[in-house]
Amino acid sequence: MGLSEFITRESGKIMSEFESFAKQQLPAAADMDVAALRDHARQVLDAIALDMRQPQSSFQQREKSLGKAPRAGSGESTPAEIHGGLRAAAGFDVNQTVAEYRALRASVIRLWMQSAPTLGRAEVIELTRFNEAMDEALAASILHFAAEAARMRNLFLGVLSHELRTPLSTIMASGESLLICAKAGKVMPEAAERTLRGARRIQSLLDDLLDYVRSGLGEGMRVTAGPDDMGQICVRVAGELRASHPGRTIDVQTAGDTSCVCDGQRVAQSISNLLGNALRHGARDAPVTVKVDGSSEDIINVSVHNSGSPIPDDTRETLFEPLVRGAGAVHGGYNLGLGLYVVREIASAHGGSVDVQSDDKTGTVFNVRLPRDGSAAAASAFPGMRMN
Protein backbone atom coordinates (compact mmCIF):
# COMPACT_ATOMS: atom_id res chain seq x y z
CA MET A 1 0.00 0.00 0.00
CA GLY A 2 1.33 3.46 -0.89
CA LEU A 3 2.03 5.87 1.95
CA SER A 4 -0.65 8.44 1.13
CA GLU A 5 -3.26 5.71 0.82
CA PHE A 6 -2.00 4.21 4.08
CA ILE A 7 -2.40 7.57 5.86
CA THR A 8 -5.97 7.96 4.67
CA ARG A 9 -7.00 4.40 5.46
CA GLU A 10 -5.27 4.11 8.84
CA SER A 11 -5.85 7.64 10.12
CA GLY A 12 -7.71 6.36 13.20
CA LYS A 13 -4.79 4.17 14.23
CA ILE A 14 -2.26 6.91 13.48
CA MET A 15 -4.22 9.35 15.62
CA SER A 16 -4.29 7.08 18.67
CA GLU A 17 -0.55 6.37 18.29
CA PHE A 18 0.05 10.12 18.00
CA GLU A 19 -2.08 10.87 21.04
CA SER A 20 -0.30 8.47 23.35
CA PHE A 21 3.08 9.72 22.13
CA ALA A 22 2.06 13.35 22.50
CA LYS A 23 0.67 12.83 25.99
CA GLN A 24 3.96 11.31 27.15
CA GLN A 25 6.13 13.96 25.54
CA LEU A 26 4.23 17.19 26.08
CA PRO A 27 3.53 18.54 29.58
CA ALA A 28 0.93 20.99 28.22
CA ALA A 29 -0.76 18.15 26.31
CA ALA A 30 -1.15 16.10 29.49
CA ASP A 31 -3.84 18.54 30.64
CA MET A 32 -5.64 18.57 27.29
CA ASP A 33 -8.47 16.22 26.57
CA VAL A 34 -8.26 13.84 23.64
CA ALA A 35 -10.55 15.93 21.47
CA ALA A 36 -8.47 19.07 21.96
CA LEU A 37 -5.26 17.26 21.07
CA ARG A 38 -6.78 15.44 18.14
CA ASP A 39 -8.65 18.46 16.78
CA HIS A 40 -6.38 19.78 14.11
CA ALA A 41 -3.74 17.07 13.96
CA ARG A 42 -6.08 14.90 11.90
CA GLN A 43 -6.85 17.75 9.53
CA VAL A 44 -3.16 18.52 9.16
CA LEU A 45 -2.58 14.87 8.29
CA ASP A 46 -5.46 14.75 5.80
CA ALA A 47 -4.10 17.85 4.05
CA ILE A 48 -0.67 16.21 3.85
CA ALA A 49 -2.08 13.02 2.33
CA LEU A 50 -3.97 15.12 -0.21
CA ASP A 51 -0.87 17.13 -1.06
CA MET A 52 1.11 13.92 -1.63
CA ARG A 53 -1.36 12.82 -4.28
CA GLN A 54 -0.99 15.99 -6.34
CA PRO A 55 1.41 15.62 -9.25
CA GLN A 56 4.61 17.59 -8.67
CA SER A 57 7.29 18.62 -11.14
CA SER A 58 10.94 18.64 -10.16
CA PHE A 59 10.80 22.45 -10.31
CA GLN A 60 7.95 22.50 -7.81
CA GLN A 61 9.84 20.07 -5.60
CA ARG A 62 12.93 22.29 -5.63
CA GLU A 63 10.85 25.39 -4.81
CA LYS A 64 9.15 23.56 -1.95
CA SER A 65 12.48 22.39 -0.53
CA LEU A 66 13.52 26.06 -0.47
CA GLY A 67 10.33 27.04 1.30
CA LYS A 68 9.08 28.95 -1.73
CA ALA A 69 5.99 26.91 -2.52
CA PRO A 70 2.97 29.04 -3.42
CA ARG A 71 0.41 29.46 -0.64
CA ALA A 72 -2.75 27.50 -1.24
CA GLY A 73 -5.77 29.83 -1.72
CA SER A 74 -5.00 33.31 -0.40
CA GLY A 75 -7.99 33.81 1.91
CA GLU A 76 -8.46 30.65 3.91
CA SER A 77 -6.10 29.33 6.54
CA THR A 78 -4.65 25.85 6.07
CA PRO A 79 -5.12 23.27 8.85
CA ALA A 80 -1.44 23.71 9.79
CA GLU A 81 -1.86 27.47 10.16
CA ILE A 82 -4.97 27.06 12.31
CA HIS A 83 -3.12 24.47 14.37
CA GLY A 84 -0.23 26.86 15.08
CA GLY A 85 -2.55 29.68 16.16
CA LEU A 86 -4.56 27.40 18.45
CA ARG A 87 -1.47 25.97 20.11
CA ALA A 88 -0.23 29.47 20.94
CA ALA A 89 -3.63 30.27 22.41
CA ALA A 90 -3.59 27.06 24.46
CA GLY A 91 -0.32 28.00 26.16
CA PHE A 92 2.00 25.63 24.26
CA ASP A 93 5.52 26.86 23.74
CA VAL A 94 7.27 26.64 20.41
CA ASN A 95 9.15 23.44 21.32
CA GLN A 96 5.94 21.70 22.22
CA THR A 97 4.32 22.76 18.98
CA VAL A 98 7.27 21.40 16.99
CA ALA A 99 7.21 18.21 19.07
CA GLU A 100 3.66 17.55 17.91
CA TYR A 101 4.85 17.37 14.32
CA ARG A 102 7.72 15.14 15.34
CA ALA A 103 5.18 12.85 17.03
CA LEU A 104 2.92 12.88 13.99
CA ARG A 105 5.78 12.08 11.60
CA ALA A 106 7.13 9.33 13.82
CA SER A 107 3.68 7.76 14.26
CA VAL A 108 3.00 7.66 10.54
CA ILE A 109 6.38 6.20 9.60
CA ARG A 110 6.41 3.64 12.42
CA LEU A 111 2.95 2.33 11.59
CA TRP A 112 3.65 2.29 7.88
CA MET A 113 6.86 0.29 8.38
CA GLN A 114 4.97 -2.13 10.62
CA SER A 115 2.63 -2.79 7.69
CA ALA A 116 5.74 -4.08 5.86
CA PRO A 117 5.41 -2.18 2.58
CA THR A 118 7.53 -3.18 -0.43
CA LEU A 119 10.16 -0.49 -0.48
CA GLY A 120 10.92 0.42 -4.08
CA ARG A 121 11.67 3.66 -5.92
CA ALA A 122 8.00 4.76 -5.81
CA GLU A 123 7.86 4.35 -2.03
CA VAL A 124 11.06 6.34 -1.50
CA ILE A 125 9.61 9.15 -3.64
CA GLU A 126 6.41 9.03 -1.62
CA LEU A 127 8.32 9.12 1.66
CA THR A 128 10.23 12.14 0.39
CA ARG A 129 7.01 13.87 -0.55
CA PHE A 130 5.56 13.04 2.85
CA ASN A 131 8.54 14.65 4.56
CA GLU A 132 8.35 17.72 2.33
CA ALA A 133 4.65 18.16 3.06
CA MET A 134 5.31 17.65 6.75
CA ASP A 135 8.05 20.32 6.76
CA GLU A 136 5.83 22.70 4.88
CA ALA A 137 2.98 22.20 7.37
CA LEU A 138 5.41 22.66 10.27
CA ALA A 139 6.74 25.92 8.83
CA ALA A 140 3.20 27.25 8.28
CA SER A 141 2.18 26.23 11.76
CA ILE A 142 5.16 27.94 13.41
CA LEU A 143 4.62 31.13 11.43
CA HIS A 144 1.06 31.33 12.70
CA PHE A 145 2.12 30.32 16.17
CA ALA A 146 4.45 33.33 16.23
CA ALA A 147 1.78 35.69 14.90
CA GLU A 148 -0.75 34.52 17.47
CA ALA A 149 1.79 34.74 20.27
CA ALA A 150 2.57 38.34 19.25
CA ARG A 151 -1.14 39.21 19.19
CA MET A 152 -1.59 37.76 22.67
CA ARG A 153 1.42 39.65 23.96
CA ASN A 154 -0.14 42.87 22.69
CA LEU A 155 -3.40 42.01 24.35
CA PHE A 156 -1.58 41.17 27.56
CA LEU A 157 0.29 44.48 27.55
CA GLY A 158 -2.95 46.37 26.84
CA VAL A 159 -4.69 44.84 29.83
CA LEU A 160 -1.61 45.24 32.03
CA SER A 161 -1.47 48.91 31.10
CA HIS A 162 -5.16 49.30 31.95
CA GLU A 163 -4.75 47.59 35.29
CA LEU A 164 -1.79 49.77 36.24
CA ARG A 165 -3.21 53.02 34.92
CA THR A 166 -6.45 52.86 36.91
CA PRO A 167 -4.82 52.90 40.39
CA LEU A 168 -2.28 55.39 39.02
CA SER A 169 -5.19 57.69 38.09
CA THR A 170 -6.54 57.39 41.62
CA ILE A 171 -3.15 58.27 43.08
CA MET A 172 -2.73 61.30 40.82
CA ALA A 173 -6.25 62.67 41.36
CA SER A 174 -6.01 62.15 45.14
CA GLY A 175 -2.59 63.80 45.16
CA GLU A 176 -3.97 66.88 43.37
CA SER A 177 -6.83 67.03 45.89
CA LEU A 178 -4.46 66.65 48.83
CA LEU A 179 -2.35 69.50 47.49
CA ILE A 180 -5.33 71.81 47.05
CA CYS A 181 -6.54 70.99 50.55
CA ALA A 182 -3.11 71.35 52.12
CA LYS A 183 -2.92 74.89 50.74
CA ALA A 184 -6.31 75.61 52.30
CA GLY A 185 -5.25 74.03 55.59
CA LYS A 186 -7.77 71.21 55.29
CA VAL A 187 -7.09 67.53 55.95
CA MET A 188 -8.47 64.74 53.78
CA PRO A 189 -7.81 61.33 55.30
CA GLU A 190 -9.93 59.55 52.63
CA ALA A 191 -7.75 60.90 49.83
CA ALA A 192 -4.64 59.72 51.66
CA GLU A 193 -6.16 56.26 52.15
CA ARG A 194 -7.11 56.05 48.48
CA THR A 195 -3.57 56.98 47.53
CA LEU A 196 -2.15 54.18 49.65
CA ARG A 197 -4.65 51.63 48.34
CA GLY A 198 -3.80 52.59 44.78
CA ALA A 199 -0.08 52.32 45.44
CA ARG A 200 -0.49 48.92 47.11
CA ARG A 201 -2.56 47.71 44.17
CA ILE A 202 0.23 48.68 41.77
CA GLN A 203 2.80 47.02 43.99
CA SER A 204 0.87 43.76 44.12
CA LEU A 205 0.34 43.80 40.34
CA LEU A 206 4.06 44.27 39.81
CA ASP A 207 4.90 41.47 42.28
CA ASP A 208 2.55 39.10 40.46
CA LEU A 209 3.91 40.20 37.09
CA LEU A 210 7.46 39.49 38.19
CA ASP A 211 6.49 35.99 39.36
CA TYR A 212 4.69 35.37 36.12
CA VAL A 213 7.59 36.48 33.93
CA ARG A 214 10.05 34.44 36.01
CA SER A 215 7.85 31.39 35.57
CA GLY A 216 7.99 31.94 31.80
CA LEU A 217 11.78 32.04 31.92
CA GLY A 218 11.72 28.57 33.40
CA GLU A 219 13.10 29.60 36.79
CA GLY A 220 10.10 28.16 38.55
CA MET A 221 8.48 29.54 41.64
CA ARG A 222 10.96 29.36 44.46
CA VAL A 223 9.47 28.53 47.82
CA THR A 224 11.45 28.28 51.03
CA ALA A 225 9.43 26.32 53.54
CA GLY A 226 9.82 26.66 57.28
CA PRO A 227 7.69 26.15 60.40
CA ASP A 228 4.83 28.64 60.44
CA ASP A 229 1.22 29.06 61.47
CA MET A 230 -1.51 29.45 58.87
CA GLY A 231 -3.89 31.07 61.36
CA GLN A 232 -1.33 33.76 62.21
CA ILE A 233 -0.50 34.35 58.53
CA CYS A 234 -4.19 34.96 57.76
CA VAL A 235 -4.70 37.22 60.78
CA ARG A 236 -1.68 39.29 59.71
CA VAL A 237 -2.79 39.61 56.06
CA ALA A 238 -6.37 40.45 57.10
CA GLY A 239 -4.98 43.20 59.36
CA GLU A 240 -3.04 44.73 56.45
CA LEU A 241 -6.07 44.73 54.20
CA ARG A 242 -8.36 46.13 56.91
CA ALA A 243 -6.01 49.07 57.26
CA SER A 244 -6.20 49.83 53.55
CA HIS A 245 -9.97 49.18 53.31
CA PRO A 246 -11.61 51.12 56.14
CA GLY A 247 -15.33 50.52 56.36
CA ARG A 248 -14.99 46.92 55.14
CA THR A 249 -15.28 43.92 57.44
CA ILE A 250 -12.85 41.00 57.24
CA ASP A 251 -13.49 38.11 59.63
CA VAL A 252 -10.87 35.47 60.33
CA GLN A 253 -12.00 32.21 61.94
CA THR A 254 -9.61 29.44 62.87
CA ALA A 255 -10.31 25.87 63.93
CA GLY A 256 -7.97 23.12 65.10
CA ASP A 257 -4.18 23.16 64.98
CA THR A 258 -3.13 25.65 62.31
CA SER A 259 0.64 25.14 62.59
CA CYS A 260 2.29 23.99 59.38
CA VAL A 261 5.47 24.02 57.31
CA CYS A 262 5.28 26.46 54.40
CA ASP A 263 6.81 29.53 52.77
CA GLY A 264 5.07 32.09 54.98
CA GLN A 265 5.76 35.02 52.67
CA ARG A 266 4.46 33.23 49.58
CA VAL A 267 1.38 31.94 51.37
CA ALA A 268 0.70 35.45 52.67
CA GLN A 269 0.98 36.75 49.09
CA SER A 270 -1.62 34.26 47.91
CA ILE A 271 -4.02 34.96 50.81
CA SER A 272 -3.58 38.67 50.13
CA ASN A 273 -4.44 38.17 46.44
CA LEU A 274 -7.58 36.22 47.35
CA LEU A 275 -8.66 38.77 49.95
CA GLY A 276 -7.98 41.66 47.58
CA ASN A 277 -10.16 39.99 44.94
CA ALA A 278 -12.93 39.34 47.45
CA LEU A 279 -12.90 43.00 48.54
CA ARG A 280 -12.86 44.28 44.96
CA HIS A 281 -15.51 42.00 43.49
CA GLY A 282 -17.64 41.14 46.52
CA ALA A 283 -20.68 42.96 47.91
CA ARG A 284 -19.47 46.04 49.74
CA ASP A 285 -21.96 45.84 52.59
CA ALA A 286 -21.17 42.23 53.51
CA PRO A 287 -18.13 40.88 55.36
CA VAL A 288 -15.36 38.90 53.70
CA THR A 289 -14.65 35.76 55.70
CA VAL A 290 -11.40 33.79 55.97
CA LYS A 291 -11.66 30.34 57.54
CA VAL A 292 -8.56 28.40 58.48
CA ASP A 293 -9.30 24.76 59.19
CA GLY A 294 -6.53 22.74 60.82
CA SER A 295 -8.70 19.92 62.09
CA SER A 296 -7.36 17.39 59.60
CA GLU A 297 -4.01 15.78 60.33
CA ASP A 298 -2.34 16.15 56.93
CA ILE A 299 -4.03 19.11 55.29
CA ILE A 300 -4.54 22.75 56.19
CA ASN A 301 -7.54 24.27 54.47
CA VAL A 302 -8.01 28.02 53.98
CA SER A 303 -11.20 29.39 52.45
CA VAL A 304 -11.91 32.99 51.47
CA HIS A 305 -15.56 33.88 51.04
CA ASN A 306 -17.37 36.93 49.69
CA SER A 307 -21.04 37.61 48.98
CA GLY A 308 -22.26 39.23 45.81
CA SER A 309 -22.82 38.28 42.21
CA PRO A 310 -21.24 34.93 41.28
CA ILE A 311 -18.43 34.40 38.78
CA PRO A 312 -20.00 33.57 35.39
CA ASP A 313 -19.75 29.88 34.41
CA ASP A 314 -17.79 30.52 31.25
CA THR A 315 -15.02 32.43 33.01
CA ARG A 316 -14.74 30.03 35.93
CA GLU A 317 -12.86 27.43 33.89
CA THR A 318 -10.11 29.82 32.84
CA LEU A 319 -10.05 31.77 36.10
CA PHE A 320 -6.57 30.62 37.10
CA GLU A 321 -5.10 31.01 33.63
CA PRO A 322 -3.43 34.28 32.72
CA LEU A 323 -4.84 36.16 29.77
CA VAL A 324 -2.24 34.81 27.33
CA ARG A 325 -3.80 31.40 27.65
CA GLY A 326 -6.75 32.69 25.69
CA ALA A 327 -9.48 33.94 27.95
CA GLY A 328 -12.20 35.54 25.83
CA ALA A 329 -10.86 39.00 25.35
CA VAL A 330 -13.10 41.63 23.86
CA HIS A 331 -12.81 45.29 24.75
CA GLY A 332 -13.73 44.61 28.33
CA GLY A 333 -11.17 41.82 28.80
CA TYR A 334 -10.85 43.31 32.28
CA ASN A 335 -8.78 40.99 34.37
CA LEU A 336 -5.24 39.96 33.66
CA GLY A 337 -5.75 37.04 35.99
CA LEU A 338 -2.16 37.17 37.25
CA GLY A 339 -3.28 37.31 40.87
CA LEU A 340 -5.14 34.01 40.72
CA TYR A 341 -2.45 32.43 38.56
CA VAL A 342 0.08 33.22 41.27
CA VAL A 343 -2.29 31.82 43.93
CA ARG A 344 -2.47 28.54 42.05
CA GLU A 345 1.28 28.38 41.46
CA ILE A 346 2.02 29.02 45.13
CA ALA A 347 -0.41 26.26 46.10
CA SER A 348 1.08 23.76 43.66
CA ALA A 349 4.65 24.71 44.63
CA HIS A 350 3.63 23.52 48.10
CA GLY A 351 2.11 20.33 46.69
CA GLY A 352 -1.37 21.75 47.34
CA SER A 353 -4.29 22.96 45.26
CA VAL A 354 -6.88 25.71 44.93
CA ASP A 355 -10.45 25.64 43.64
CA VAL A 356 -13.48 27.90 43.54
CA GLN A 357 -17.20 27.59 44.12
CA SER A 358 -19.50 30.39 43.10
CA ASP A 359 -23.27 30.68 42.95
CA ASP A 360 -26.12 33.13 43.52
CA LYS A 361 -27.00 31.90 46.99
CA THR A 362 -23.66 31.61 48.77
CA GLY A 363 -21.49 33.98 46.74
CA THR A 364 -17.89 33.03 45.96
CA VAL A 365 -15.51 30.81 47.96
CA PHE A 366 -11.89 30.08 47.10
CA ASN A 367 -10.44 27.03 48.86
CA VAL A 368 -6.70 26.58 49.25
CA ARG A 369 -5.49 23.20 50.52
CA LEU A 370 -1.87 22.78 51.55
CA PRO A 371 -0.13 19.70 52.98
CA ARG A 372 0.67 20.43 56.61
CA ASP A 373 4.22 19.05 56.58
CA GLY A 374 5.43 21.11 53.59
CA SER A 375 7.40 18.10 52.30
CA ALA A 376 6.33 18.70 48.70
CA ALA A 377 7.42 22.34 48.80
CA ALA A 378 11.06 21.80 47.82
CA ALA A 379 10.52 19.48 44.89
CA SER A 380 8.00 21.53 42.98
CA ALA A 381 8.34 24.13 40.27
CA PHE A 382 6.14 25.88 37.78
CA PRO A 383 4.45 23.65 35.22
CA GLY A 384 5.11 24.24 31.53
CA MET A 385 3.82 27.78 31.21
CA ARG A 386 5.68 29.98 28.75
CA MET A 387 5.25 33.55 27.65
CA ASN A 388 6.84 33.32 24.23
Binding site: R165, P167, S169, S174, E176, S177, H331, G332, Y334
Partner: protein, 130 residues
Protein backbone atom coordinates in the same frame (compact mmCIF):
# COMPACT_ATOMS: atom_id res chain seq x y z
CA UNK B 1 -21.48 59.55 45.61
CA UNK B 2 -24.50 61.76 45.21
CA UNK B 3 -23.60 65.41 45.62
CA UNK B 4 -26.45 67.89 46.07
CA UNK B 5 -27.43 69.18 42.69
CA UNK B 6 -26.88 72.91 42.41
CA UNK B 7 -29.20 74.45 39.81
CA UNK B 8 -26.52 76.79 38.36
CA UNK B 9 -23.79 74.20 38.16
CA UNK B 10 -23.28 71.95 35.22
CA UNK B 11 -23.18 68.27 36.01
CA UNK B 12 -20.44 65.80 35.18
CA UNK B 13 -21.10 62.12 35.72
CA UNK B 14 -17.96 60.03 36.32
CA UNK B 15 -18.38 56.31 35.55
CA UNK B 16 -15.82 53.63 36.46
CA UNK B 17 -16.00 50.24 38.14
CA UNK B 18 -13.07 51.25 40.34
CA UNK B 19 -14.74 53.06 43.23
CA UNK B 20 -11.60 54.72 44.49
CA UNK B 21 -11.04 56.32 41.10
CA UNK B 22 -14.65 57.54 40.87
CA UNK B 23 -14.44 59.01 44.39
CA UNK B 24 -11.03 60.58 43.72
CA UNK B 25 -12.11 62.23 40.46
CA UNK B 26 -15.43 63.43 41.90
CA UNK B 27 -13.61 65.00 44.83
CA UNK B 28 -11.02 66.66 42.62
CA UNK B 29 -13.56 68.05 40.14
CA UNK B 30 -15.65 69.45 43.02
CA UNK B 31 -12.55 71.04 44.58
CA UNK B 32 -11.19 72.77 41.52
CA UNK B 33 -14.14 73.54 39.22
CA UNK B 34 -17.71 74.70 39.53
CA UNK B 35 -18.97 71.48 38.00
CA UNK B 36 -21.12 69.23 40.17
CA UNK B 37 -19.60 65.76 40.08
CA UNK B 38 -21.84 62.69 40.18
CA UNK B 39 -20.22 59.30 40.67
CA UNK B 40 -21.46 56.03 39.17
CA UNK B 41 -19.76 52.75 40.07
CA UNK B 42 -20.72 50.68 37.06
CA UNK B 43 -22.70 50.60 33.79
CA UNK B 44 -26.14 49.91 35.29
CA UNK B 45 -25.65 52.48 38.05
CA UNK B 46 -24.62 54.99 35.36
CA UNK B 47 -27.63 54.33 33.14
CA UNK B 48 -30.02 54.67 36.10
CA UNK B 49 -28.41 57.94 37.18
CA UNK B 50 -28.24 59.38 33.66
CA UNK B 51 -32.02 59.57 33.37
CA UNK B 52 -32.35 60.84 36.96
CA UNK B 53 -29.69 63.53 37.09
CA UNK B 54 -29.50 64.64 33.44
CA UNK B 55 -25.72 65.22 33.28
CA UNK B 56 -24.22 67.75 30.85
CA UNK B 57 -21.14 65.60 30.39
CA UNK B 58 -20.14 62.01 31.13
CA UNK B 59 -16.63 60.69 31.72
CA UNK B 60 -16.92 57.01 30.88
CA UNK B 61 -14.47 54.18 31.63
CA UNK B 62 -14.32 52.01 28.51
CA UNK B 63 -13.34 48.78 30.29
CA UNK B 64 -15.78 47.99 33.03
CA UNK B 65 -16.00 44.34 34.06
CA UNK B 66 -16.70 42.52 30.84
CA UNK B 67 -18.93 45.28 29.45
CA UNK B 68 -18.17 46.93 26.12
CA UNK B 69 -17.72 50.68 26.67
CA UNK B 70 -19.14 51.50 23.24
CA UNK B 71 -22.39 49.71 24.12
CA UNK B 72 -22.55 51.52 27.47
CA UNK B 73 -22.06 54.83 25.66
CA UNK B 74 -25.04 54.03 23.43
CA UNK B 75 -27.22 53.10 26.42
CA UNK B 76 -26.19 56.27 28.26
CA UNK B 77 -27.08 58.39 25.26
CA UNK B 78 -30.52 56.76 25.06
CA UNK B 79 -31.05 57.07 28.84
CA UNK B 80 -30.29 60.79 28.68
CA UNK B 81 -33.19 61.32 26.26
CA UNK B 82 -33.01 64.44 24.10
CA UNK B 83 -30.17 65.97 26.08
CA UNK B 84 -27.24 64.17 24.48
CA UNK B 85 -24.56 64.89 27.09
CA UNK B 86 -20.96 65.30 25.92
CA UNK B 87 -19.30 61.90 26.21
CA UNK B 88 -15.63 61.56 27.17
CA UNK B 89 -14.04 58.14 26.90
CA UNK B 90 -11.60 57.27 29.71
CA UNK B 91 -9.33 54.26 29.27
CA UNK B 92 -6.04 52.75 30.35
CA UNK B 93 -5.53 51.10 26.98
CA UNK B 94 -4.03 53.24 24.22
CA UNK B 95 -5.54 51.13 21.43
CA UNK B 96 -8.97 51.56 22.94
CA UNK B 97 -8.30 55.28 23.30
CA UNK B 98 -7.62 55.47 19.54
CA UNK B 99 -10.74 53.45 18.75
CA UNK B 100 -12.87 55.77 20.87
CA UNK B 101 -11.38 58.93 19.36
CA UNK B 102 -12.40 57.67 15.92
CA UNK B 103 -15.94 56.99 17.15
CA UNK B 104 -18.18 59.99 16.46
CA UNK B 105 -20.13 59.46 19.66
CA UNK B 106 -17.28 60.67 21.85
CA UNK B 107 -16.32 64.33 22.15
CA UNK B 108 -12.83 63.30 23.26
CA UNK B 109 -10.91 60.25 24.37
CA UNK B 110 -8.62 60.40 27.40
CA UNK B 111 -5.84 58.00 28.41
CA UNK B 112 -5.58 57.23 32.13
CA UNK B 113 -4.27 58.87 34.18
CA UNK B 114 -6.37 61.88 33.16
CA UNK B 115 -4.37 65.09 33.24
CA UNK B 116 -6.27 67.62 35.37
CA UNK B 117 -5.53 70.72 33.28
CA UNK B 118 -6.47 68.91 30.08
CA UNK B 119 -9.68 67.60 31.59
CA UNK B 120 -10.72 71.04 32.85
CA UNK B 121 -10.02 72.53 29.40
CA UNK B 122 -12.25 69.89 27.80
CA UNK B 123 -15.02 70.57 30.31
CA UNK B 124 -14.79 74.32 29.63
CA UNK B 125 -15.73 73.67 26.02
CA UNK B 126 -18.89 71.71 26.87
CA UNK B 127 -21.92 73.79 25.92
CA UNK B 128 -24.86 73.62 28.33
CA UNK B 129 -27.46 71.23 27.03
CA UNK B 130 -30.31 73.39 28.30
Amino acid sequence: MHTDLHPDHRRLMIVDDDRDLVDALCELISLCSDWTAIGAYGPSDAIAQASETAPDAILLDMEMEGVDGFATARHLDVASGQRHPALFALTGNDQLRDLASNDGRFTASILKPADLTGLLKLLDKVSPTH
